[in-house]
Symmetry: none
Subunit: 401 residues, 2 copies
């Protein structure tokens, strides 16, 4: 019996409320030898108090040494095995701009590019055209008509756009048309299996019409499609855990990931204050809240240590407002580390604290990487945090008699 089967079998319902507060990229490293990490450096009286009174540990996003992208990082926190569920690049691109994806839609990532008179690629990114030009070109592409297929095309950023093909019998096993080099023509979309033949034909027709439409544009006179995929067929949090789950996030990517696991996505909040307000207003309507805070990741990616420290302090100041709502279980962690030292996601385990009436005390007195090493949760794979939350919420029956 695996984790998902256990969850499906054992979950029960009650009136408890669970908050999963994901501070993206929370974990860090000292920026200089002998120093503290971003979290250790920040003044976090509220998180420290929670850590001292409850239970802490470190969350391993995937496996030791393996760095996750945002998709696998969040799937783990939602209790899914992030090594078993693959999210195609086209799907992530569509989620990243808040596009709704049905279970049979095929999404692809589009790139505008430049070709010469022989049709050979001269620039795979069309000189990184501005987003406004991308939006105008996407508007022109909306004239494309393919019988039996609804097309959704939206600009993303610079030369990138998202395309969704909606129709009967469309599958995602189609090769990229980007040859990854210049000096050759773009490739034809080729199906990797028989079921995806129709998608390949639809994509080919899309490209043929697009070529005509873009013919006189400069420099973006052609396009390529990559990462064809359906959304992964995963059971919802309702099915697995019996949870009515809601997602609160400023950035569309995270709302999209929440949508993949069947959460209700609350309207976009613009900042932490609005996110707290959304939590408060929807408190009675859901059992579980995924609450996403982006800026600990983006400041880490920028390598801006003082700014990441400030963002952690900003989050800490908002903790009392979450506690006022009296969640039965509050988890604070990140989907991965984003140390300023590395300016990128990393594999380092992420501090986690779990607050509930049923915590067994440990000797942690503040919330930080070194302290959490001595926490009662130990070093735990991220996918076990949700089962722990359900346990502490009284939402899991015992296994076996």
């Amino acid at each position: 019996m695996n984790l998902q089967q256990l969850m499906r079998t054992l979950h029960t319902t009650n009136k408890s409320k669970i908050v999963l507060l994901v501070s993206d990229g929370l974990g860090g490293l000292p920026i200089e030898p002998g120093g503290g990490t971003e979290l250790e450096t920040a003044s976090t009286p509220n998180l420290d108090k929670l850590a001292a009174e409850n239970v802490c540990g470190l969350s391993i996003p995937l496996l030791p040494g393996i760095t996750p992208g945002s998709g696998p990082g969040h799937l783990g926190l939602f209790g899914y095995d992030p090594l078993e569920v693959t999210i195609g690049r086209g799907v992530l691109e569509a989620l990243g701009i808040d596009l709704e994806l049905g279970p049979t839609d095929v999404a692809a990532r589009g790139n505008f590019c430049t070709v010469n008179e022989q049709g050979e690629l001269t620039d795979r990114r069309a000189g990184r055209i501005p987003t406004e030009v991308c939006a105008r070109l996407v508007g022109m592409l909306r004239a494309i008509r393919i019988p039996g297929v609804d097309l959704v095309i939206e600009p993303v950023r610079e030369y990138r756009f998202a395309a969704v093909f909606r129709g009967q019998e469309l599958y995602g096993e189609v090769e990229d048309t980007d040859p990854q080099v210049t000096g050759v023509p773009a490739l034809e979309p080729k199906a990797r299996d028989a079921a995806s033949e129709k998608t390949a034909q639809v994509a080919a027709e899309f490209i043929r019409q697009a070529r005509r439409i873009l013919n006189n544009e400069k420099p973006a006179n052609m396009l390529m499609l990559r990462g064809f995929a359906r959304r992964p067929p995963i059971p919802s949090m309702k099915e697995l855990y019996g949870l009515n789950a809601a997602a609160i996030a400023v950035y569309p990517m995270y709302r999209g990931l929440a949508r993949l696991v069947g959460m209700t996505v609350l309207p976009q909040a613009k900042n932490l204050a609005e996110e707290i307000e959304a939590l408060r207003q929807n408190w009675d309507s859901f059992d579980f809240f995924f609450f996403h805070f982006k800026y600990t990741d983006s400041t880490g990616e920028d390598g801006n240590f003082p700014e990441k420290v400030k963002r952690i302090e900003e989050l800490d100041r908002h903790i009392p407002q979450i506690l006022e709502l009296k969640p039965d279980v509050l988890i604070v962690t990140g989907d991965h580390s984003t140390p300023c030292l590395l300016k990128s996601h990393s594999w380092h385990p992420v501090p986690v604290l779990l607050a509930a009436r049923t915590c067994r005390p440990d000797r942690v007195t503040s919330f930080g990487e070194r302290e959490c090493l001595y926490g009662g949760l130990g070093q735990v794979e991220a996918k076990y945090l949700l089962p722990l939350a359900l346990g502490h919420a009284g939402r899991l029956q015992k296994f076996g008699a």
Copy 2:
């Protein structure tokens, strides 16, 4: 997606250098209640400094409570699942004397033995004849001719020798001919599957000719064959990790294990100084160095606590010479524990330290079993140390977007 698939997919290359220093049987136990372990007793200023400045933990060779032999112990450290890869005894015996094994060779371990006039075994080890006698008898056995099969026979020690059968269509699923008791004749080699019928026939013919050759010898007038096996079909470290790996070891068994995973085996060094010299001379030609130190195991097997302490101190004195080369990642650990108290390998987790620029500090201040319990690596299965090394070396891309 399992660990090997991940490694295959995610690895990338750069100019980083990784050193895996395996102090065989490093972990220990106090020899008397209240005392320190061998490592805790040894004076190890260089390892202590590394431990204090980097990250430590304990490596679980297989699973809690399970003691590994040298084969699985090292396969784990090389990143393979030691419970999934089986190395036949014949293969280990051949590797242990530096024999080269092709992927289709079948190796077996040979024992000289004594039989009476009725052909019944009276001594399964032929009175443990001296190695010189073994060598003389093996010389005589080289007269054996089997059409279509090349034979390689080499003495090992006392009554033991190694036999390699090289030819078309030879497979290793053949039963031992040692009945494990005396008073009965040796068994016929019997194939366990159809593909191995030919090997069984070749082995039977080998035994028939050997019986004639040994007929007038005393006490070794017969032989038995055990542990028929091909080398396990495992992907190389180059395939899995993109590493050009080299092995430096005094003892042939460890060079052989390194050969199994595709490492380049550097010429035999006779002591630690020569091993260091080999490391230095080959520094520019490889990405990864497996550096084996044997004597912490052999002194443990002897139950010689003071001598194991001395060997650890000897290793410690050589650490600065390794650091002078400025490895990007240095791991120091063992393949298993060999406590003098037990005079044998044991299941106890092995202290591990990982030194790299990207280590997250922990509170460990010296390198020893008790200190490592509080290390940032936690207690980690040995097979994850190589992924961690690759992560710290910047040789793994992130998983998913």
